[in-house]
Symmetry: C2
Subunit: 207 residues, 2 copies
């Protein structure tokens, strides 16, 4: 399983510093939506961040203007960009095409995707499907259960990414379960006393 560390709601300088330190350790470094909104793509360019090992995911949360946002995001060096599953099918087709053309990856954020819409958007064979909760939503969330249910309903989806308050114990369970390709950890690493050491602990659990 892969570990994606989400860097979010911090100053740009700190985000860059921590990204550089996490680069040799983790699989994917996510520059969160708050960093996109506050500072923009250009400030998050892969070259600026100086990444040489980890993949860069920019959490663009594209919902429209798919061609523009994906071309720009890949241009600044993102390996993975995110599109909302709640987008129009047209937008999803467009972003998938841009990703394929550029040999990069598309992550579909399933937040607020209705049960009617979901079956219509699970046919992108190389897309990563992201299961998680809106931060404003206070419902309970069991990661392995959610993954299991999703996998049962959509067995053809082979790239599953899961996020939402994942701690070491949840990560261990997800690894054991063996369905998810990637787990996203945010606060449990970034808000720990030593994010680098904590990231190392997560890596040990999931590899």
């Amino acid at each position: 399983m892969k570990l994606q560390v989400a860097i979010d709601r911090v100053e740009l300088d700190y985000a860059k510093k921590i990204a550089k330190q996490l680069d040799p350790i983790v699989d994917i470094i996510e520059m969160g939506t708050s960093l996109v909104k506050d500072y923009g793509y250009y400030a998050l360019a892969k070259e600026q961040l100086g990444l040489s090992h980890a993949e860069l995911l920019i959490d663009s949360k594209t919902i429209d203007e798919g061609k523009y946002e994906f071309e720009k995001g890949y241009e600044v060096g993102a390996d993975i960009l995110t599109v909302m599953g709640a987008s129009s099918i047209g937008t999803l087709n467009t972003t998938y095409q841009v990703a394929k053309d550029q040999n990069r990856q598309m992550f579909i954020d399933l937040m607020e995707v209705t049960d009617t819409k979901l079956p219509e958007i699970v046919d992108f064979p190389d897309a990563i499907y992201g299961i998680h909760h809106a931060k404003d939503n206070k419902d309970n969330f069991d990661a392995t259960h959610s993954v299991e249910v999703f996998h049962k309903n959509y067995p053809n989806v082979n790239r599953i990414n899961v996020a939402g308050g994942i701690d070491l114990e949840q990560a261990r369970k997800l690894k054991e379960q063996g369905i998810a390709e990637t787990v996203i950890v945010g606060g449990k690493i970034m808000k720990s006393d030593d994010p680098i050491k904590t990231a190392e602990k997560f890596m040990k659990v999931i590899k």
Copy 2:
């Protein structure tokens, strides 16, 4: 009726220059999502843009992290921020509360809002409801017809904003119709030979 001019998919310097020139003429200046994604909120701060007359709308297209994105957006001087109607109810409640607390405005983008969801989100009395099409969607679009249908279905919504390929003729019809509070014009002004003169023409038609 009010005129909102959307500045989008241009370099930051040009966006700032044209915003300053449009400021004394139009009602609302929109900094489009591409400018947010490319350069971030901080680069679009009202003070940086030097606006003194027009209201500033930053098209944040918030879909999650409502508190963070709205607080930050108002902090940099936006009068109006946008939230996707496709967000969770929790997110919409949160952004509305932030807007009320700060005595600013919330614009709900109705793109990709399902017929099931729409009735659940039309109860924010002071919110602006934005009717438009995803750019990736090639369907036909008659602005007055869409406004009429929406108004008939949701007569309690009193702030309607309409966008999508609006030209002078459509703007004139919308003004005659007298339902929409604001019309958004993008390309028809920004891609014209003289955006400032064209904006003046639109203002004459809608006032």
